[in-house]
C-alpha cells in the first residue's frame, strides 16, 4: 500500500527546513524501496512543531515534529513512521493547541493539497438563493471586516450592490503587513480556493465581474499559489462569470490601507485618498468596489454553505463568528489559533501560547500589529473582541499578538512605532509625514534623559495631533503603541540615560 505523507509547503514551514525534510524523506524512501507519496499541504499552524510531517494510517493521520533532515533515517527505522518514535505527536487533532480550536475558516488549511479543487458548496447555495438573498445571508451572519476596522461586511456589500455603475470590482486586500500576523498568508498558501470562492460569491452578490487579489511582495509563495489556483479554477469553468487577477505590491506597508491599495492597483504611488467618497461608491478606477480582507472573504463560503445562523451562533457581543488569532514573537507555542471571539488575552498568551519562548516572564504584548497598543499583564482579562479592546484603548486589528519578555525596553518600542510610521508614511498628510519624524527626535531626547517630563508632554500632544489629524490609520493609530507604552510602562521612560550609539 502506498504510504501518504503530508509535508507543509507553507512559507514558515519552508523557512525552518520543510523542503529539506521532504527531499530527505523522498530519498530515504527510494533507498529503502518504501512505496511513498508526498503531498505538500499547507500548515496546520502549530509553528513550534514545524516542520510537522503527517502520515496517513488506517486510524487517521499521525503527526511527527519538529522534524529535521537528520531525523529522517530514524523515522524510517524498522517500520517507517513507527508511533513509538520520540518525535511522534499522535493524531494532530488531539494536540491540545489544535483540539481547543474551532476551525471554520481554517478547517481545510494544513489538511488538504492546496491545489485540489473541491465542489464550491457556498457558491452553489448562493446561486440557488440569488444575489439579494446571498447578500442578506452575509448581513445576517454578523460578519465584520477582519482587516482590523471590523466594519459589517454585509452593509459594505449592500452599498456596492445598490450603487449603479457600468462595472464593479471585488478587491481582496492581501497586503498583510502587520508584524505578528500571517493568517492571510496561510490561507493563500494552504487553501487558495477558499478565498477564490469567497470572492466569486462577493462578485455574484454585488454584481461585480472582476476581482483583484493584491498580495504583498513579501509573500512570493502566496502569490505563486494563488496564481496557480486561479488558472485551475478557470480551467474547471468555475470563473466563467468572474474574472480574477493577482497583483503584487512593492513593499509599501501603507498599501494595506484600502484607498492607497486602490491607487497602487491603478498603477500610482500608494497614497491615501481622502474619504468620502467611500470605495463602495467610488473605488477602483472610480467604480463601486468591495475591498475586503482575505479572512473576511475566506469566511464567506462557510457562511453560505452552512447558513448565516450557524456562523452567528459563535462569538461574543457584536463580534460574531470566529477569529483566526495569530500568536507570534517570543512565545513558546506560536501559531494560528482560530476560536470564537470572547476568549481572554491571558488565556491566549499564558495557557495556549504557553508563555515566552525564552522562559522569562511575559511583560508586554502588542495586539493588532505595529499600530496596536501594548498591553501589560494587568489587562490580560480583556476579552478578544472589537469592543472590549476598544474600551481599553486597544485594538485587535488583524488578530496578531506579539509577546515580549521582561528584557523589552518599552521606550525603544515606542520609538520604533514612531520610526516605523515615518518609514512607511505615504507622505500625503502632514501629521504622519512630519509628526513621525519629530516624534522619533523627541523620543530620542527622552531616552537620552533630556527634559523628560516636558518631552513626554510633547509626545502626548503630538499623539493627539496624529490621532485626530491624520488621513488614515497609519498616522491615526501610531499613538496606540506609543501612548500605551508610556501609560503602562512609565518606568521604562525613566531609565538611566544611554547614548543611542551604545545600542
Amino acid at each position: 500500500m502506498t504510504l501518504r505523507v503530508f509535508i507543509p509547503c507553507d512559507a514558515a514551514a519552508r523557512a525552518v527546513g520543510a523542503d529539506g525534510v521532504a527531499t530527505a524523506i523522498r530519498d530515504e524512501a527510494q533507498r529503502r524501496g518504501v512505496d511513498l507519496v508526498i503531498v505538500r499541504s499547507g500548515s496546520r499552524g502549530l509553528f513550534w512543531l514545524e516542520p510537522m510531517v503527517e502520515v496517513q494510517t488506517t486510524r487517521g493521520r499521525i503527526a511527527f515534529g519538529p522534524v529535521t533532515r537528520k531525523d529522517v533515517p530514524g523515522l524510517f527505522g524498522d517500520t517507517p513512521f513507527a508511533q513509538n518514535h520520540p518525535l511522534c505527536l499522535g493524531k494532530p487533532e488531539d494536540i491540545p493547541f489544535l483540539k481547543r480550536q474551532t476551525r471554520v475558516t481554517f478547517a481545510r488549511c494544513g489538511v488538504i493539497d492546496p491545489l485540489s479543487l473541491a465542489p464550491w458548496r457556498g457558491l452553489e447555495r448562493a446561486k440557488s438563493l440569488g444575489p439579494a438573498a446571498t447578500l442578506e445571508e452575509v448581513v445576517k451572519s454578523g460578519l465584520r471586516g477582519r482587516g482590523g476596522a471590523g466594519f459589517p461586511t454585509g452593509i459594505k456589500w449592500r452599498t456596492v450592490a445598490d450603487t449603479p455603475s457600468d462595472r464593479k470590482y471585488i478587491v481582496c486586500n492581501a497586503d498583510e503587513g502587520d508584524s505578528g500576523t500571517y493568517a492571510d498568508r496561510m490561507i493563500m498558501e494552504g487553501d487558495p480556493f477558499l478565498l477564490i470562492e469567497g470572492m466569486a460569491i462577493a462578485g455574484f452578490a454585488v454584481g461585480a465581474s472582476k476581482g483583484y487579489v493584491y498580495i504583498r511582495s513579501e509573500y512570493p509563495d502566496a502569490a505563486r499559489t494563488m496564481e496557480k489556483a486561479i488558472v485551475i479554477a478557470r480551467a474547471a469553468g468555475r470563473l466563467d462569470e468572474f474574472a480574477m487577477e493577482v497583483r503584487v505590491g512593492a513593499g509599501a506597508y501603507v498599501c494595506g490601507e484600502e484607498t492607497s491599495l486602490l491607487d497602487s492597483l491603478e498603477g500610482k504611488r500608494g497614497q491615501v485618498r481622502a474619504k468620502p467618497p467611500l470605495p463602495a461608491h467610488k473605488g477602483l478606477f472610480g467604480r463601486p468596489t468591495v475591498v475586503n480582507n482575505v479572512l473576511t472573504l475566506a469566511a464567506v463560503p462557510s457562511i453560505l454553505a452552512d447558513g448565516a445562523d450557524a456562523y452567528a451562533a459563535l462569538g461574543y457581543g457584536r463580534s460574531r463568528g470566529t477569529q483566526p488569532i495569530q500568536l507570534a514573537g517570543n512565545v513558546k507555542h506560536g501559531g494560528l489559533f482560530e476560536a470564537p471571539f470572547g476568549i481572554s488575552l491571558g488565556e491566549l498568551v499564558d495557557e495556549i501560547g504557553g508563555g515566552t519562548r525564552t522562559g522569562r516572564p511575559v511583560r508586554a504584548v502588542q495586539v493588532g500589529g505595529p499600530l496596536g497598543a501594548y498591553f501589560p499583564r494587568a489587562l490580560f482579562d480583556t476579552a478578544f473582541d472589537y469592543e472590549a479592546f476598544a474600551a481599553r484603548d486597544g485594538l485587535i486589528g488583524h488578530g496578531g499578538i506579539v509577546v515580549f519578555d521582561d528584557t523589552v525596553n518599552m521606550a525603544r518600542q515606542a520609538r520604533f512605532a514612531l520610526e516605523f510610521c515615518g518609514i512607511e508614511s505615504c507622505g500625503k498628510c502632514t501629521p504622519c509625514r512630519i509628526g513621525s519624524k519629530r516624534g522619533v527626535e523627541t523620543m530620542d531626547k527622552i531616552i537620552r534623559g533630556e527634559q523628560r517630563e516636558a518631552n513626554l508632554a510633547l509626545i502626548e500632544d503630538l499623539c493627539q495631533t496624529l490621532k485626530f489629524g491624520s488621513l488614515c490609520a497609519l498616522g491615526g493609530f501610531t499613538p496606540y503603541p506609543v501612548m500605551s507604552a508610556v501609560r503602562y510602562f512609565p518606568e521604562d521612560f525613566n531609565r538611566p540615560p544611554v547614548g543611542l550609539a551604545a545600542e
Binding site: A12, W48, E50, A250, A252
Partner: protein, 151 residues
Amino acid sequence: MSAPWNETVAREIIERYQDREGPLLPILHDVQAAFGCVPPSAIRTIANALNLTRAEVHGVVSFYHDFRETPAGRHVLKLCRAEACQSVGGEALARRILDHFGLDWGGTTADGRLTIEPTYCLGLCACAPSAMLDGEPRGRLTAEFIDELAS
C-alpha cells in the same frame, strides 16, 4: 543574473501588460526582474508607452521600497526588523550580521556579492527572527546564519 539594458526586451514586457487595467506595477516588477533594477532608460520607455510623464513613473518607482534604480548585489538578504522579530533578539542579530560584513542597512559588500536590506514583516512571525535570502524564507535564525552567509 540580470541582463544589461535592452530596449526590445523592455518593450516586450510593456506589451505584455499594456492592455491591462493599471499596468504600471506589473511592468516595473518584470523590468526589475529582467534588468536587476529600473534604470533611467526604462523610466523613459515606460513613460512613453503608457502616455505618462517621466516624473510620474519616477514618482512611482521611488515611492515603493522594492524598486531600485541601480542593481543590488548578487545575493539579496532581507532581514526582518518588525516587532515579532525584535521580541526574540532580531535587532541584535541583525547588528551582528551587518557588522560582520561591514555594512549599513541597504549596503552592498565591496565585491558586489551581498546586499542587506531591512524589511518589515515576512509573515514568519511564529518562527522569528526571520529573513528572506534571494526570495527564499528563513526562520528561527541564530548566529550560525552568519557563517552560512559568509561561506
